[in-house]
Symmetry: C2
């Protein structure tokens, strides 16, 4: 029916400010499209550590598990970044949430906006028209493998482990996305060195026959880090493991010139989480200068996921309208700019 | 004295062509400066597999161990890249050589040439003046940790392991380099997720007191992948582990716009190896179009390492003279260009 339970986790830094704008948008959409969104707020990250000692309180996990979708702000606080000895850290909350909800696929679209192309650090002719969808495996690999530090701190290790079962679901997802797009899938790995990478290649090769219309390519991660800058237009859908995905997707996110605009979706079998790619940006906290668009576009991804395509379409259109009319925050235009909430309201009003 | 034993490993693809130019240069330098270079040639990589079945024949290893320096061309052949099942691969030759010679530090300078700045994919104002020295740990980490693939291929793992002893020598080297430069050292890691990264931070922190004039910073690898593109000038000396160094140094190598110019040195306690950053570029093999400058600048790094600073200085000057006078290969100027051996001879004549 038209009733949806949304878990809302504002988190740290600018998280709460951008999430307010997303809620503003959802309220307007509820009215315009006759949906009902029920919001359950939860603590996570540094905020949760300060208040409960736990970066992911059980109450928050419960809210998320029972939700139709999780709307996530940002986490991270300089207090912890500058202290490598801290035993409890905001990031643990997010990592555990991903694992507990089984969010195996992190999906990040890289799109460029012609009115913002000059913000890119790359030359216009290189970046213009690039359109990439990145699928990053999110709940296995070296992030979640066994870890050990010898009590004397003489040595440490981290294990990167993958099973076929870890790889298959996201590989199928990426092939299916490629079918809907330009039919090109690039697996990024380090198969000339790593056993896990060779397992990724083998597993993708095995299922490739089910997607005969998709061209499957392989690229070593070091080469990919170069190719993304030299010629981003060669990519359509990218598939990669957790650690390489962390690096490559962040690299990809800046070449468009507008990391403040990029949303992401983390999808599992029974749960899904939507968050901006940018972090908690603590220096901007409370100043009303944060760009709410990445969070608002995460809402659009969420609506899509909930099957509310027409609302999602309308929302994306409204965001484009705001950007084209230069109704943007200071990161995109230092001469004429609007506050976080002005931009949110402008987009809401257009809906 | 003035006698040096140089092991020469031309390798695959364009390796032999660029190495010929480096030998041409060394012959001229020997004459001009009254040195004597003795060259011992060895097989490595695909070439060695085709001829002996072994990517690093014992004879080659012996030549290298007995040398004062190793001059390396390139390895890699599409025959192997396109076959993930191949059990013997060219890369194994290079990896084993690094390990056997104990080449723990891979050093890659990133410099820009003002006459070539427009070749960069980045906007001029972002890249101009960037000058970075990258120290990548080369004989430990996930490259050399335990590897396993279950016989049924249901799962695989790779272990990333570091000991304090692995980290200390390269960390000291990087601190010392920072002292000679702009006194800024950035350790790139993923300390919010990995135990090995936290060991890197701890170990660097411990010895930082010995270098009070150097400012030690930390940066997460995902952020570093962005910052290199957004603002490369913020970096002076970068220190990082093996896998992150592979990715980050390749990313860094293209932002200058001239990967064909970048040399690298791999240093161990008793041995040292010098090679261009670029690969074997098989498409260009035998066409006389390969840029010999990266290999020639590797010779300059080698001369520096052998204590022949004035010859190294003269050689670098000659290379700059060739570039400024547009005496370059087709990759740097498609309108007016010279062959591999013409560029080599031009540089040699100037010495
Ligand atoms: C906060 C951190 C643990 C996280 C990650 O590395 O996955 C972040 O960088 C991301 O990409 O979502
Ligand atoms: C050929 C390959 C094994 C090697 C590496 O990953 O170290 C190469 O990419 C390099 O950087 O020298």
């Amino acid at each position: 029916d038209n009733y949806f339970k949304i878990a809302v986790l504002p988190g740290d830094g600018i998280g709460p400010e951008i999430i307010s704008e997303s809620i503003k948008i959802l309220d307007v959409i509820a009215e315009a499209f006759q949906y009902k969104f029920h919001f359950d707020y939860g603590l996570i990250g540094a905020e949760a550590i300060f208040k409960t000692g736990n970066p992911l309180p059980e109450e928050t996990l419960k809210i998320c598990k029972e939700s139709d979708a999780v709307l996530f702000g940002a986490i991270g606080d300089p207090v912890f970044d500058n202290n490598p000895e801290a035993k409890v850290r905001p990031e643990q909350g997010l990592l555990r949430l991903r694992k507990e909800l089984g969010l195996f696929a992190n999906i990040r679209p890289l799109q460029t906006y012609s009115s913002l192309i000059e913000k890119s650090p790359l030359k216009k002719e290189i970046i213009e028209g690039a359109d990439i969808q990145i699928f990053r495996e999110l709940v296995s690999g070296i992030y979640f493998g066994e870890k050990f530090t010898d009590p004397e701190e003489a040595y440490a290790y981290d294990v990167c482990r993958y099973s076929r079962e870890d790889i298959l679901p996201i590989a199928h997802m990426a092939f299916q996305e490629a079918q809907k797009r330009n039919k090109k899938l690039t697996l990024i790995d380090k198969a000339n060195v790593l056993d896990t990478s060779r397992l990724w290649r083998k597993t993708c090769q095995e299922i490739a026959a089910e997607y005969p219309d998709v061209q499957l390519d392989y690229m070593f991660v070091d080469n990919a880090a170069m190719q993304l800058i030299l010629n981003p237009k060669q990519f359509d859908v990218i598939l990669t493991e957790n650690m390489f995905g962390d690096i490559i997707s962040d690299e990809a996110s800046v070449i468009g010139g507008s990391i403040g605009l990029l949303p992401s979706a983390s999808i599992g079998e029974n749960n899904a989480l939507f968050e901006p790619i940018h972090g908690s940006y603590p220096q901007a906290k409370g100043k009303g200068i944060a760009n709410p668009v990445a969070s608002i576009l995460s809402v659009a991804m969420m609506l899509d996921h909930l099957g509310l395509q027409s609302a999602a379409g309308k929302l994306k259109q409204s965001v484009e309208h705001a950007i084209e009319n230069k109704y943007v925050t200071i990161d995109l235009n230092t001469k004429q700019y609007y506050s976080t909430s002005e931009v949110g309201s402008f987009i809401a009003d257009y809906i």
